[in-house]
Amino acid sequence: MTTALFVQLVVNGLVKGCTFILIVLGMDIILRGTKILNFAHGQFYMLGAYTLFMLCRLWHVNFLLSLALSGVALILVGALSYLSVFGIVQRRFTATTPFTYRFLMSAMASVGLMLILQQGTLIAFGTTERGMPSIFPQIIALGDVRLSLEKLLIILLSMFICFGLYLLMYKTKLGLAMRTVSFDPEIASLQGVNSFGMFIICFALGSALAGVAGGIIAPVFAVTPTMGTHIIFTAFLVLLVGGIGSYKGAVLGGVLVGLALSFGFQFLGGIAELFVFVFVIIILIFKPGGILGEVLD
């Protein structure tokens, strides 16, 4: 294996990893804040990619502006879906509702949402792959290592978003309120936090992250209606490796799985996913809560 190939594989893996990180961070925020495992998350990611495609390709809006706009669009989608579906489901729960029932009801609701969004997009846009021209087609050459500027920018941008998220969650009052709600909604209410409002914000923020992830990756990969279903399985893998509900775990898991898939597809072909799954199962034998998470029941 030459150095050039190695570096390229690492960069490709990191690009994949960055998408996973953004998606899984969104999942984690939703999971910790509202205790919903959102199966429609992949579809939010797909909607983000389509929003960016429409804005950028059809209406020629600036790339960064349309990325921000697709985030905003997904905030709306997330808040709306929380208000119309999950909020109603969760309001029925009492303190004594068994975990299984809680989890199943909200998960099934998200599965319903997933089916509607998935098939709705399929009908609206057709099955054709929508390609986008590269925003930054320049190639950086360092000796015999050739890297596209775009991929490096994606990695930088994702790191920037992660840092912004860190500031939001740990340095602002809103972040403190969100963390309090994720600890215990009733205690948060006693402290004067509007729990229901925080649920909406958590859900909308998580959805926005999925949307941005979709938007960021749209210039690199083709935009298809099934891209959400494809990525959700890998995103779940990342969630398990890093630990459910752990933000640091999401970052670590994203990088690990991204690199493993990038190298795996190069040397093993399509069977790589199977190996990554077995690898994750082995990790789970020794660390049942994922690498950085604790066991959640």
Binding site: R92, T94, T100, G112, L115, L240, I244, G269, I281, P288
Partner: protein
């Protein structure tokens, strides 16, 4: 009476396609029952389709490569699925909850990918030419009717076994685990062992159905077990009523098989209708069809000793709550 109708059904229905729909509905019932069994033990699986696929592929390989007849392949593939479930389950049942659900979903995905990628399993094209079951005495397995009786027999057998389990001590232990794992553990119940037992029994049943499926269609392809299958399986249980472990999936599967067929909905729109349907049930009829009926039934009956609390209990045993 329902039983008699089920047995006599082939006499009334002559249309082969309707018979096929009934067979598919019964397969759906069996798969839904495996989901309900795990739900009764407090585990939520999204991977019933995986064990269905393992049973189908196991049976296919046994009969095409080793030339075994259906009657030997069915129990053997059930056993194989049970062993796989034991191996996987002994790892993943350790941490129930969300992690369990996610892993079962991933496992279903990976099984489909693996069968599609490996030439040994026939690749994406699948394996064709699976033998129909050998004649059993005078009964020839050539018509839909004979397959109907076969799946009916399997269905009733499984329902009996499951019912026996639910009414025995094991079933009560499962329900206590579902109600409150810490409480069950404090009563000296080995949570891990009972959860694993539910996982293995339910998965073996799914494997048995898979074996039937392979010999009924005489071919297996990875696509048949992927996609929305695992989601539809839960929909059966949720639609019929989650607290009814045998009747719930039965009603749900029959409705989900026949209603889309007779409404003649375009294949494209069908998932949207299913999604809307699912959301409506969860939002407004969370008990499913049977649960809602039971609520009406109870509301009509005059009950002397019933405390109807208007206040939500903050803490305390769940059994005190109405419903």
């Amino acid at each position: 009476m329902v039983l008699a109708a089920m047995v006599l059904l082939p006499l009334a229905v002559k249309n082969a396609y309707v018979m096929h729909l009934f067979i598919m509905a019964y397969i759906g019932i069996l798969l839904g029952m495996t989901f309900s069994m795990l739900f009764s033990a407090g585990l939520i699986t999204l991977g019933a389709g995986a064990f269905y696929a393992i049973g189908a592929y196991g049976s296919t390989l046994l009969s095409t490569r080793l030339g075994l007849s259906f009657w030997a392949a069915l129990p053997m593939s059930t056993l194989i699925t049970g062993i796989v479930a034991l191996a996987i389950g002994s790892i993943i049942v350790r941490h129930p909850g969300m992690a369990f659900t996610i892993i079962t979903l991933l496992f279903a995905h990976v099984v489909i990918q693996a069968t599609g990628q490996m030439e040994f399993f026939g690749g994406w094209g699948g394996i064709i030419g699976v033998e129909t079951p050998d004649p059993l005495g005078p009964i020839q397995f050539a018509t839909k009717t004979s397959f109907y009786y076969l799946i009916l027999f399997l269905l009733l057998l499984t329902a009996l076994v499951f019912h026996a389990l639910y009414t025995s001590r094991i079933g009560r232990v499962w329900r206590s685990i579902k109600l409150s794992p810490p409480l069950a553990e404090s009563l000296g119940i080995n949570l891990y062992r009972y959860r694993l037992m539910a996982f293995v029994v339910a998965s073996s049943a799914a494997g048995m159905v898979g074996s039937f499926y392979a010999h009924y269609f005489q071919m297996v392809t990875p696509e048949a077990f992927g996609g929305w299958l695992s989601i539809y399986i839960q929909l059966y249980a949720v639609l019929g009523g989650l607290e009814f472990y045998i009747l719930g999936p039965a009603i749900g599967a029959v409705i989900m098989t026949f209603v889309p067929e007779y409404l003649r909905i375009a294949k494209e729109v069908e998932p949207i209708i299913t999604g809307v349907f699912l959301l409506l049930i969860i939002l407004f009829f969370s008990g499913g069809i049977l649960g809602t009926l039971r609520r009406f039934w109870r509301a009509k009956r005059p009950v002397v000793f019933r405390v109807k609390s208007r206040h939500k209990l903050i803490a305390g045993p769940n059994v005190l709550r109405d419903e």
